[in-house]
Every structure is written in C-alpha cells, then in structure tokens.
C-alpha cells in the first residue's frame, strides 16, 4: 500500500511537469508582450528593451520555463503585472474561499442526493420515483451559473432574504453553495439510484432478508455499503466539476475565490496570475485525484488487494 502511494506520488511529478510546461508555453504565446502592459504608453524603445532585459524576457523559452519551475518549488511564481501582488500569495489567499465553497457544496450535494437516490430506488416506478428523477434530470440539464442567476433573482432580488454579492459572513455562502450543490446533487442522485437498483436485486439482500434482518438493516448495512463504491466513484469524478461550478458561482456571486481571481485576471490580461493560478489548480487536482483513489482502496477490499499485489 505504501509503495503504491509512493509510486503514485512519483508519477505526479512528470504529470505536473508536462501540464505546467504546456500551460506555460500556451500562455507565453498568448500573453503578448508584458512590457507594454507594465510601462506607460509613451515609454521609449530603450526603456522597453531595458525592462525586457531586467525581467529576463530575452532569454530562450526553456530557460525561462526552468527558472519559473525553480520558483514554483519555493512558492515564488512571480508578481502580477497589474497589481504587483505576489501570485502564489494571492492564490493561497483565494484558495480557502474556494475550498469553503466547494466543500460546503459537496456536503450539501451528498445530504440531498444520497437519501433521495435511495428513496427513489426503493420506490421504483412509483410517482415518488418519477418526481425525484424529473428533478434530477432538470438539475443535470441546467447550466450551473444560470441556476445561480435564478436563485439570485428569487432569493436576493425578489424576496430579499439573502445577499447577492460578496463574502462578509456565512450568510453570503448560502446562495453560491446552493448553486454548486444542487447541480452536483442531481448527478449524484442519478448514480445513487441506479447503484442501489443494482444492489437491491442481489442474492445477499434476499439472504439478509431471509435471515430476519430488519428492513432498515438490510437497506443500509447490506445494501448501501455495497452500493457505495459507484457512488464514491461518481463523487470523486466530480471534483473537476466542483472546481468548474465554483469558478462560475464565484463570478456570479462575486465570491473572492480562485475562479474569480482567474477570470478577473484574464480580463486585465494579467498573464502571470492566470498562468500561476491554472498551474496551481492542476497540482491541486492531481492531489485530490490521488486522495480519491486512496479512499477507494479503503472502501473496497478488492481494490486494496489489487494494489498490494502489484506493489
């Protein structure tokens, strides 16, 4: 098991190197000349050339990339051309906000979707099932940011119950978290339902019933435990979606997280902030994906055995 974790950690290094190289390369091509962004418009050619030399922009691409990655290891990813703030510090400031939003949304999604998925599966083909599934179908068909706009329209503009912009307290978290959470809940409900339906017909469920276990024990202990693996897979696969959803909700509700940082920086053509944030997001995703894989191993002894054999 430990060897497996080490192997995965080692494998992350080339993944991060390749991803960051591609992103750095693309943004370098796309970014234009930063000197024009920093210096006033009437700067002379000599001033521009001097600044270029000073910033090391005249060096070959590979050398600049190597220097950049060297900085990354020590948490130095350059400064914003626009605000002059340190990119790494800025990202780390925004990260807790995004994690709070994404985490709340994910918990909310699980609270809604897993019971609903079990409930619809147990009442298969009844009106309860149909209602639940229609809700889920609408949920997955809706663009997340639009759901956010509509929630804002109803709860902030018309009813005036909740604030629509900013992050000055837990109250401000409700609408963005609902936006991201409801979209996820729809997806997870569908997975939970079909996973439960698979399990309900299994022989061990009949055996458990025959042995006189209570309905509750049969469903939750024998059923849900076995249905959990596809559900956890589904949740694990959603992290990219949580990130995307949070980014959109942050823009809609002016929540000061990573998504808003990236899209505001794009508007201002602030290349170092965009590049740095995206690379850090990818590293974060790799770590999350690794953690998800490890959680499986603990949930499913079969997977654990597989890892141990392969070493």
């Amino acid at each position: 098991m430990i060897r497996y974790v080490l192997k995965r950690l080692l494998f992350m290094i080339p993944t991060i190197l390749i991803t960051s190289f591609l992103i750095y390369f693309a943004m370098d091509l796309a970014g234009g000349d930063p000197v024009n962004t920093i210096l006033p418009e009437n700067a002379t050619t000599e001033q521009k050339e001097a600044l270029r030399e000073e910033m090391g922009l005249n060096d070959p691409f590979l050398i600049r990339y190597a220097r950049y990655m060297g900085g990354l290891v020590t948490g130095d990813m350059g400064e914003s051309y626009v605000t002059g703030l340190d990119v790494f510090d800025r990202f780390m400031q925004c990260l807790p906000m995004t994690l709070a939003l994404g985490g709340t949304a994910l918990i909310l999604a699980c609270i809604i979707s897993i019971p609903l998925g079990i409930y619809t599966a147990l009442n298969q083909n009844s009106w309860k099932d149909t209602t639940g599934m229609v809700f889920a179908l609408f949920g997955v068909s809706m663009p997340n940011f639009w759901l956010g706009l509509m929630l804002m329209l109803v709860f902030a503009v018309n009813l005036n119950w909740l604030p629509s912009q900013g992050a000055e307290g837990p109250k401000y978290l409700i609408l963005p978290a609902l936006t991201v959470g409801l979209g996820l809940a729809a997806l997870i409900t569908r997975t939970t339902r079909s996973s439960m339906l698979d399990v309900i017909r299994a022989d061990y469920m009949t055996t458990a019933k025959a042995k006189g276990a209570s309905r509750r024990r049969v469903i939750y202990y024998h059923g849900l435990k076995n249905a959990m693996i596809p559900i956890v897979t589904a949740i694990g696969m959603q992290f990219s979606l949580v990130m995307t959803g949070s980014a959109l909700a942050e823009v809609v509700f002016s929540w000061p997280g990573i998504g808003r940082l990236v899209f505001e920086s794009i508007d201002k053509r602030d290349v170092p902030t965009v590049t740095g944030s995206i690379i850090l997001c990818c590293i974060l995703m790799s770590i999350i994906n690794l953690l998800v894989d490890l959680i499986y191993a603990f949930l499913d002894p079969r997977i654990k055995a597989q890892y141990s054999n392969k070493g």
Binding site: F138, M243, L248, F263, I278, C281, C282
Partner: protein, 297 residues
C-alpha cells in the same frame, strides 16, 4: 390459447427486423425520448433556417434605443434588451451557435477519441500507455481551465471554443472506445476475420467499432448536451463567443448586469439552454435503454 397466438404474432413481428430497426422501435416507445427528438428536430430546422427567418442587420444586431429594456409583451414576447433588440429573435437565432459548437466539438472529439482509443485498446503495449498517460494528464487539468488556456492561445472565436471543448470530449470517447475494444478484441469473430487475411484497419473499422457503438452513441448524445452547457459557461465568463453574437451564454453575460430591473434578459436564454440540454438528455437516456434492454428496469 389467445396468449399463444399473441406471442406468435409478436414473434412474427420481431423477425426480420435489424438491430437498428429494433432499437428504433424501442426508442419510439419511450415518451421522453420522443419528446426530446421532436424538440431537437424543430430546433435543428430553426437553426438551419435562421437566416431565412431573421435578417442579421435589422433583427439580430442593431440598436433601437426607443424600445430598450421593455418587459415581455405581445409585440416582444421575451421583452427587449438594453439596446432595444428583441430577445425572442436573438434566442431563436442563437440556437445555431449552440448546436454548431455542441455538435462540432463532439464530432471532432469523437474522431480523435475513436482513433486513439481503438488503437490503444487493439494494440495495447506502448501505444496504450501513451494514450492513457496523455488522458491522465488531461484529466488532472480542470476542464474549464483547459478551455481557458486554449481559447487564450487561439483567440476568442467559435472555432477555438469547438477545439477547446473537443479535447475534453476526446478523452472520454477514447476511454470508452478503449474499454469496449479490449473486450471485443479477443472474440472469435475477430480471430476468424484475421484468419481470413483481412488487414488490421479493416478489422477495426468493420468488426470492432460497429460492435462497440452502443455506449459511444449514448455518450455522443449526452456529450453534445454537456458541451452546450460548457460553451455557454465559457461565453458567460467572457472567454467564449464574443459579443454581439446572440450565443445564449453571451446573452446571459450581457443580461447579467440588468438582473435586478430586467430579469427577462437572463431568464429566456437560460431556459433555451436548459430545454435543449434536457431534450438531448432525454434522448440519451432513451437510447441507453433502447440499445441495452438488459439495463431497463
């Protein structure tokens, strides 16, 4: 007696039907899928004939400040926007952008995914490793960030949006194709095709891909829907289709600042996205049940 006769009739009916006909027949029994299909056909007709119905300069991209920001009325059923443009006309005309981007990105992703996935599944070994590692790397980049980088590189346009979205579709198609090909590769009929001396590319094209089409068809339908959502999200964030194109996400980005006073500018383009994706999801779910009756409960 009666039942036996009925069963024989049914049998007669089922005989002589090809698999595609059989699937089609089952699909028609699914109400949701039929509704979805009718909606998509109408939308397709609308998208194709958009230029015949509407004139770009006088009905889609123009300014008529006299009627700006009017609430929905008989004359403007969806109201007008901040420049006095009719929201209904723009929503209907906008269907073509969503469809072009949704279908275009899926087709492009499908071609790339089918080729790389089937080769990886068929040959295994080094090629498989390469494709799967590339997939892993793409998987570690959040889709939206990947799209942002590509759009930054290629500039904001419909084509760069199609390319950006096709990459994430390609990875899922490659995975599905690879898995299906690996299970079919060792079947007897593939071996006999080998024994008959068919070239490999023909075996892949004629015998392997047709047999793993079911999951791919379902995935195509669902991907078009999710790519339409992604495209409108990116446009909403300002990295997709630029204004004044009446793409639904772009319209939402424009209407967003007026949500307090003129909410219809935000409501209708979003409804259009939701209904389109809903129709595609209904079709996708219906196809999944129709293609694999075992799954239907």
């Amino acid at each position: 007696m009666n039942e036996t006769m009925k069963a024989t009739e049914n049998l007669q009916e089922y005989k002589g039907r090809s698999l595609a006909q059989e699937t089609w027949h089952r699909l028609l029994k699914n109400k949701g899928a039929v509704v979805g299909m009718i909606f998509m056909v109408l939308l397709l007709l609308l998208a194709v004939s958009g230029d015949l119905i509407y004139d770009w300069d006088t009905q889609i991209d123009y300014m008529e400040m006299g009627v700006a920001r009017q609430a929905p009325s008989m004359e403007h059923p969806f109201g007008t926007d901040q420049l006095g443009r009719d929201v209904l006309a723009r929503v209907l005309y906008g269907s073509r952008y969503s469809l072009i981007i949704g279908v275009g990105s899926v087709v492009l992703g499908l071609i790339v995914g089918l080729i790389t996935g089937s080769l990886a599944g068929f040959y295994g070994g080094g090629w498989d490793q390469l494709v799967m590692r590339a997939n892993d790397i793409l998987y570690s980049v959040p889709n939206i960030m990947l799209a942002v980088v590509i759009v930054q590189l290629l500039g904001t346009s419909i084509l760069s949006l199609v390319i950006a979205l096709s990459i994430s579709s390609a990875t899922s198609f490659a995975k599905i194709t690879r898995a299906s090909v690996m299970t079919i590769r060792d079947q007897e009929y593939v071996e006999s095709a080998y024994a008959m001396g068919l070239p490999t590319w023909k075996i892949i094209l004629r015998h392997i891909i047709p047999n793993c089409l079911s999951p791919i068809i379902v995935q195509v339908t669902l991907s078009i829907g999710s790519n339409i959502i992604s495209a409108s999200s990116l446009s909403f964030l300002g990295v997709g289709v630029p204004i004044p194109t009446p793409e639904w996400g772009t319209m939402l980005a424009e209407g967003r600042q007026f949500i307090r006073s003129e909410p219809w500018m935000c409501i209708f383009p979003g409804l259009a996205i939701m209904l389109t994706v809903l129709a595609l999801n209904l079709m996708g779910d219906g196809l999944r049940d129709a293609l694999d009756p075992k799954l239907k409960r």
